[in-house]
């Protein structure tokens, strides 16, 4: 076992500290593998660049990014660098371990997102936790179980208690017949029993995960059940601690002076009035001016006393002019997929040409970005609201001039992420201020700061030109994605002549390479990057042609599909919805849309009511069918789908970042409308538990159909085709006028 420790430590990856803290028991190390494992599950362009890129490659030399520990008291601790954002991961991961190790779900403790206790992890995004962790978590648990069963068999084979030497021949038959339940090993022949805890008394065993056969899918007892959230009681009692709920002795509260607009530069400043407030300190450090005080409200008052002038932003764009600008400005889109001949295909039928627009969108998690930072004796500790604790660690180490090992990031409860907490600005600012003031610093962004420095879903334009022949068959499909990125851009419909042109999402949303600077402010990953926009365009355009052909939109899709899983979710959705074939517009206000991303398949049907006078749309009912492969926790999966439907209503109907000349005008929930109770439709979720496939993403894919399904339902209700998201009452009225 010493060999493992030497190997790991020599590589310099896993902290030696981990080994010192382990104590007795059994530890199984396992690895998620390096970056290619992650990239393999991605739809299109694979990430490759560090820094602002949230998909940072694994540091060299890291062999293991997690481990499982079984203590002599029988409790199992699983340490992973992933974090709980409300998606129920804590329970889902424990379910994997419970099944393969044969311990009770309640005997498992998860430690998540602590950079000192948990080995390195890339971050919690991309619906990747189950897709990537499932096999390795189960493998590690299976390895642990195999070791424990061997120990149990040896113990049962011993002629007398305490006799160590036993023959291999006497152990083998016992091993073959052992049974385990809830961490108790039983030999049915002799009736002897021993617990995992008893087997590990006084022992210290370390193993690397080897190839241990996993149980068959049909034998799962915990995977596939709706195990409860482990943190439910603390959440409903207010005891769950989020970053801003931690209080340290001497801690101070910071606020930072912000320019009114992106690109505006400080020209003049007078901090004298703020400095006169007792208990307030003003900090100037390079480009940053901050105040600290002994309460958050005093810090805010002091900030308001600073008199500052700024130069105007060089940006002259606004939320209306941005689309033309993007079309003219975006460079280096490439043909990323093609087949047949576009020019020939265009001659084979009637042409349909449309541009689909999508505005910028904000993450708007209920908890704004927040950090508590303590810097003392050359070491930093941060409690951070983040999806990427190791990314925060490395960024803070860099800015403070520390070694990463001297920075510890602890991830408490996180009040929502959705992609917005992949980024480190708030955490780095807190660490800088904490170093300067020499006291623990809480930096919680105001709601206005959270909007201003959010990394918005990029605004985008999707141009589609297609041709359909007289029998209602699409014969040509030419899609150009402008500023959405390439994820989800390639159509899965069977079309003989097709072409997809797009720039990689790494350039668009991660801001690397040719198209890094096209946006007037930060953009980034928003729950299923690019794919909401592209699905809106593709599924709307299919309906444009279906309507012209006077064919029912579901039948029209089926005519162009051969992928069995896509057909499967459409059929499951239609059955639950009670879909009755009719060409649109039928006046019923029903719509359908489907899509696939990662290896998850989604079909959604919706019914809407449109107030033709006001343009207001009320969604009455949404049915979503999802095939994510094996379903780990049906109740958790259903909640994720409901979350996607809800958040999807927002990007479909109301959420739009307004801005002008670098100034973000949407600064709070009164100017950026996220879905509320009164927007809620009746929701029905159909889970297609497809056990021939491993578990795949469920946190993002079900959101991709929401824009198009509502657009198609509005068309079915009114004959008006909406070409821009969100479909606000004004846009609906304008479309009604055009129709």
């Amino acid at each position: 076992m010493r060999q493992d420790e030497t190997t790991v430590t020599a590589n310099g990856g896993v902290n030696r500290r981990d080994f010192l803290k382990l104590g007795t028991g059994l530890v199984v190390y396992f690895s998620l593998g390096p970056l290619p494992t992650f990239a393999a599950g991605l739809p299109m362009s694979a990430p490759e660049l560090p820094g602002a890129n949230p998909l940072q490659p694994m540091p060299q030399g890291v062999n293991f990014n997690s481990f499982l520990q079984i203590s002599p008291d029988g409790r199992v601790t699983c340490k992973v660098g992933k974090v709980e954002l409300g998606q129920g991961l804590r329970s889902a991961m424990a379910q994997h371990v419970a099944d393969e190790l044969d311990v009770s779900f309640d005997a498992i403790d998860m430690i998540m997102g602590d950079t000192d206790l948990c080995p390195w992890d890339v971050g919690t995004f991309g619906s990747g936790a189950n897709r990537l962790l499932s096999v390795v978590l189960r493998g590690a648990a299976a390895e642990g179980r195999a070791v424990l069963l061997q120990m149990a068999a040896e113990r049962f084979a011993a002629p007398a208690p305490g006799v160590v030497e036993v023959s291999l021949e006497s152990v083998k038959p016992i091993l073959a017949r052992l049974q385990v339940k809830d961490g108790v090993v039983t030999d049915p022949a002799s009736g002897k029993k021993v617990t995992y805890g008893e087997l590990l008394q006084g022992k210290s065993i370390e193993r690397k995960m080897e190839k241990v056969p996993l149980k068959s899918v049909t034998s799962y007892k915990v995977i596939g059940t709706s195990a409860r959230r482990k943190d439910a009681a603390e959440i409903v009692t207010g005891k769950a601690k989020y970053t801003a709920d931690f209080v340290l002795p001497d801690m101070v509260f910071a606020r930072i002076l912000r320019p009114p607009a992106h690109g505006a530069k400080l020209t003049n400043i007078d901090t004298s009035a703020a400095e006169k407030v007792p208990g307030v300190k003003v900090i100037r450090d390079g480009d940053m001016t901050a105040v600290v005080a002994d309460s958050p409200d005093k810090a805010e008052q002091a900030l308001e006393l600073i008199k500052a002038q700024f130069s105007p932003s060089p940006s002259t764009l606004d939320d209306k002019s941005i689309f033309d600008y993007l079309v003219k400005t975006l460079v280096a889109e490439k043909v990323i997929h093609e087949g047949g001949n576009i020019a020939e295909g265009a001659k084979l039928g009637e042409l349909f040409e449309r541009s689909y627009l999508h505005s910028y969108g904000a993450h708007a998690h209920m908890e704004t970005h927040a950090t508590l930072a303590k810097v003392e004796n050359g070491k930093a500790t941060l409690w951070a609201s983040t999806q990427r604790p190791f990314g925060v660690r490395d960024a803070v180490a860099q800015v403070l001039g520390f070694k990463p090992a001297d920075v510890r990031v602890i991830t408490p409860h996180v009040g929502g992420g959705f992609g917005g907490k992949n980024y480190v600005q708030n955490n780095v600012e807190a660490a800088r201020i904490a170093k300067l003031v020499g006291k623990p610093v809480q930096l919680v962004w105001s709601r206005a700061e959270d909007f201003m420095y959010d990394r918005f879903r990029p605004a985008a334009v999707i141009q589609i030109r297609s041709a359909m022949n007289k029998s209602g068959q699409v014969v040509m499909w030419d899609l150009k994605a402008i500023a959405s990125g390439d994820w989800g851009s390639v159509t899965f419909y069977d079309v003989p002549n097709h072409r997809t042109t797009a720039a990689p999402i790494t350039e668009i949303a991660w801001r690397r390479g040719n198209n890094a600077d096209i946006h007037p402010f930060n953009v980034g990953a928003w729950r299923m990057p690019g794919t909401n926009t592209l699905t809106f365009a593709r599924e709307s355009h299919m309906d444009v042609m279906a309507a012209k052909a006077r064919i029912d939109p579901l039948q029209f899709r089926m005519k162009h599909l051969s992928d069995k899983r896509m057909i499967g979710v459409l059929e499951a959705c239609a059955k639950q919805f009670g879909w009755k074939a009719k060409a649109a517009p039928s006046g019923r206000g029903v719509g359908v849309a489907c899509g696939s991303i990662y290896r998850t398949y989604v079909a959604t049907m919706a019914q809407v009511e449109v107030d033709k006078k006001t343009g207001a749309v009320q969604v009455k009912r949404v049915v979503t069918a999802v095939d994510p492969g094996t379903v780990i926790n049906p109740e958790g999966a259903r909640q994720q789908v409901e979350g996607c439907i809800t958040m999807g209503l927002g990007y479909a109907l109301s959420e739009e970042v307004m801005f002008k000349n670098g100034e973000v005008l949407s600064r709070n929930f009164d100017s950026y409308e996220i879905p509320s109770f009164s927007m809620m439709p009746k929701m029905e979720v159909v889970l297609v538990d497809n056990r021939q496939f491993p578990p795949d993403g469920i946190g993002e894919p079900p959101i991709i159909t929401m824009g198009s399904v509502i657009a198609n339902a509005i068309y079915d209700a009114t004959g008006a085709r909406l070409l821009q998201l969100p479909m606000t009452p004004d846009r609906v009225k304008a479309a009604l006028k055009r129709s």
Binding site: L85, I235, M366, I674, S678
Partner: protein, 158 residues
């Protein structure tokens, strides 16, 4: 103006010397150590900071502490009694009526105020009353169901 403000906090007489223009949220969280009520928007538009004052739901981020003098303040920390979850809390657990949980204390306190006034609300009453409490994760449908269940369990008593 700095002065002593006396009020009842979760059933206990409390007095605190404080600038009486300060917002209740900050006093609760950082002077009195009750961090259940959350900061969400700072302008009373999201409901994450909701507490109950004299049986009415209020937004503590926009309630100066002088307005609670002599009143009864109930926060999420005071809702469960003797280690037993309140029926609303129990219903939230049973319905999985939360994801990240950040809005949950405000949701539960606003629901509590509703059930004080309307012990058997219809779904439409719940929607109307809860509409200003925002949840980004999308637990609204479950929250409505949880409140309906809690109303039944409470049999008209809050």
């Amino acid at each position: 103006m700095e002065r002593s403000i006396a009020f009842t906090l979760n059933g206990k007489p409390t007095s605190i010397k404080v600038d009486d223009e300060r917002m209740l949220l900050w006093v609760l969280r950082y002077d009195l150590g009750l961090t259940g009520a959350k900061f969400g928007c700072g302008t009373a538009v999201c409901g994450a900071c909701t507490v109950v004052v004299d049986n009415q739901a209020v937004r503590s981020c926009a309630t100066p502490v002088k307005e609670i003098a002599g009143k009864k303040v109930l926060t999420i920390e005071g809702l469960s009694k003797d280690g037993h979850l309140h029926p609303i809390q129990e219903a939230f657990v049973n319905h999985n009526a939360f994801q990240c949980g950040y809005c949950t204390p405000g949701m539960i306190m606003n629901a509590y105020a509703l059930l004080l006034q309307t012990p058997r609300p219809a779904a439409a009453d719940i929607t109307r009353h809860m509409d200003g409490n925002l949840c980004r994760c999308g637990a609204q449908v479950r929250i409505v169901e949880a409140i309906q269940d809690a109303a039944v369990a409470m049999k008209g008593r809050a």
